[in-house]
């Protein structure tokens, strides 16, 4: 059975002064589907999500949520979506339970739901802590709890784990994975962490400069590159410059001067590897360490844009 899309974004354009933040994006999300909008900072992810959230409005194009547009259906749409904005700071001197109760009142919910959500986001021990005393991860979980209060059909999370340490990040992920298993919620998530998109989402849209670069399931994204492997290596010599690697027909070495680290793509590594070792030898370089691994979203992004996703940070 093919379910109707819950969210449909059609040819949406949004400009700020002379910058096109979102430049003709189209995609849809089905019930229960987890979708990632993946891209570097400034790719237009937040603008896109805020248009779905009804906080900003597109210059052109349509956004249809559960068959409705924001125009004249504000109240109804607010009731079926849950969201967490990038860096909302809740009232410092209200505790976790009070903050959740305040937001619960907006949906006409009661104490039971607040208790359920406190459990769901693992803030039981912190229920009486003021927001100001929560750690970054706990604040994010509180924000997530608020987003989940109304059992939303559509959950929109804008960089829910940015700035969190790996442990805190995994805690957020495990809550979302549990949600995927137990509820029928759809998720639209923006992130610039490849791993996050890989871990959580069924469908990934890579965007940059407001446009879709590539989209598909994780397998679909990497299938065209199947068999491709990445070789990463370091050398014993110090202060190596990219010029140390002359042009070569078989492979193209990318050398990172700062990290003193190189990588190259291999298609048939059985035959290419000996050639590479030989090549190093003719260049007068000595291998220190090397690693061969599968292609990741990171590599795909570099392939598509020629730069690393975290380059501007």
């Amino acid at each position: 059975m093919v379910s109707q899309p819950l969210v449909e974004v059609v040819d949406v354009i949004k400009s700020f002064k002379d910058v096109k933040a979102v430049n003709g994006l189209s995609f849809s999300v089905r019930e229960g589907q987890f979708l990632a909008l993946l891209g570097p900072n400034g790719a237009g992810k937040t603008t896109m999500v805020e248009m779905i959230e009804g906080i900003q409005f597109p210059d052109k194009g349509d956004i249809i949520i559960d068959g409705k547009t924001w125009h004249n259906h504000e109240e109804e749409i607010h009731r079926i979506i849950g969201l967490s904005l990038q860096e909302t700071r809740f009232t410092d001197k209200l505790n976790v339970r009070e903050t959740l109760s305040l937001f619960a009142s907006f949906y006409g919910l009661g104490r039971d739901r607040v208790e359920e959500v406190i459990n769901l986001v693992n803030l039981d021990e912190k229920r009486k802590s003021y927001v100001v005393n929560l750690s970054g991860g706990q604040r994010q979980r509180l924000a997530l709890g608020i987003a989940l209060l109304n059992n939303p059909k559509i959950l929109l999370l804008d960089e829910p784990t940015t700035g969190l340490d790996p442990t805190a990040r995994r805690e957020v992920w495990s809550i979302l994975k549990k949600l995927k298993k137990e509820a029928n919620t759809s998720l639209i998530l923006t992130t610039h962490y490849m791993e996050e998109a890989e871990q959580l989402c069924d469908y990934i849209i890579i965007i940059d400069h407001g446009k879709i670069l590539k989209e598909g399931t994780l397998d679909q994204l990497l299938i065209t590159e199947r068999g491709k492997k990445i070789l990463e290596f370091t050398l014993k010599e110090e202060g190596i410059k990219p010029e140390a690697f002359p042009d070569n027909n078989s492979f193209n070495v990318q050398w990172d001067m700062d990290k003193q680290k190189g990588n190259l793509e291999l298609i048939k590594f059985e035959s290419q590897l000996p050639k590479f070792l030989n090549y190093l030898h003719t260049c007068g370089l000595t291998l220190e360490n090397m690693e061969i691994r599968k292609l990741s979203l990171d590599d795909l992004f570099i392939d598509l844009t020629g730069r690393h996703i975290h380059e501007n940070e």
Partner: protein
Amino acid sequence: MKMNKKYSQLGQLLISHFKEIIREPGIIFWGIVFPILMSLGLGIAFTQKQEVIRKVAVLETNDSAVLDSLLIIYMSDYADTNRMMTIENMQTGNTSFEFIPMNWHDALIALKRGVVNIIIAENDGKIEYRFDPLNPDAQLSYTKLNKYFITGTPVIIENTQNIQPLTLKGTRYIDFLIPGLLAMGIMMSTMWGLSYGMIEKRSKKLLRRMVATPMKKSYFLISIMTVRMTMNFIEAVLLIVFAWLVFDITIQGSIPALLAIFIAGNVGFAGLAFFISCRTAKTEIGNGLINVVVMPMMILSGIFFSYHNFPDSLIPYLRTLPLTMVADGMRSIFIEGAGFDQIVTPVAILMIGGTIFFSFGLRFFRWY
């Protein structure tokens, strides 16, 4: 079935805003303790009648004996009495003059710093006075010195039977001050509490998070203003009770009228606060905007000293400032015994003005 009481939106908003305020010790201090301390400090400084000592710089010349001998002529026992001259007055309190010899340079510095306000010197066998003619305090020193210097005794008893000191309630400085502090409290608490609070919520993106729910915006505004007004009321009552206990202040006019001007002041400043906070998301800009509104009124509205000290041509304008209207209205009730009739105009202007500012604010309000 287990009871699952649904939370009321307005109720939760009111509770949250109230907790937000009372849990911030700074707000309690600046809203409640500070005005009380200020009334205490100023009240004591301006009501205690103590001996006033006026310091006078005596210019030393190369031949200081000339001046000394001159002073001895004017004032016998000059050297023996630690260079002091006292004018005793039963009605207005005693005034002592302390003569401090210094050179011209030091005398000028002392004058600039306000240690002395008059310099005396000897010129051709006569006393010469040097002071700023625009300084009323220096003039008073001159008048007294000039009058009593020639009597030649270090202790002079001023006979001022014709003075009847006014110590009636309502005529003291503290009676003038307290209604002004109440008016200022309304302005400061409303402008900072409401404007700053709103701008901070916007800068924290809390405002946009809240309106991304089915929250009723009107409930949000009603709750934040109700809580602010309640806090203002508590602050005002505490200050009045304190002033009544310590300074024996009484409200001579109509209490319902006082309530009316209190509410009108709240509405007026709330409208203004709402208007200036309707767009900006930067607390620094908010700071500036609030100061632009608050600072001139603090100075011009006659909170601490009567605005009648300003030039007459300015006074009609000063009277149109909202803080002046509230302060004057409150003073007329507290110390002149006024009722509704006297305050109906300012109440109406404040209410209408507040409403107009509020509707403009609402028109341009940025929730996101």
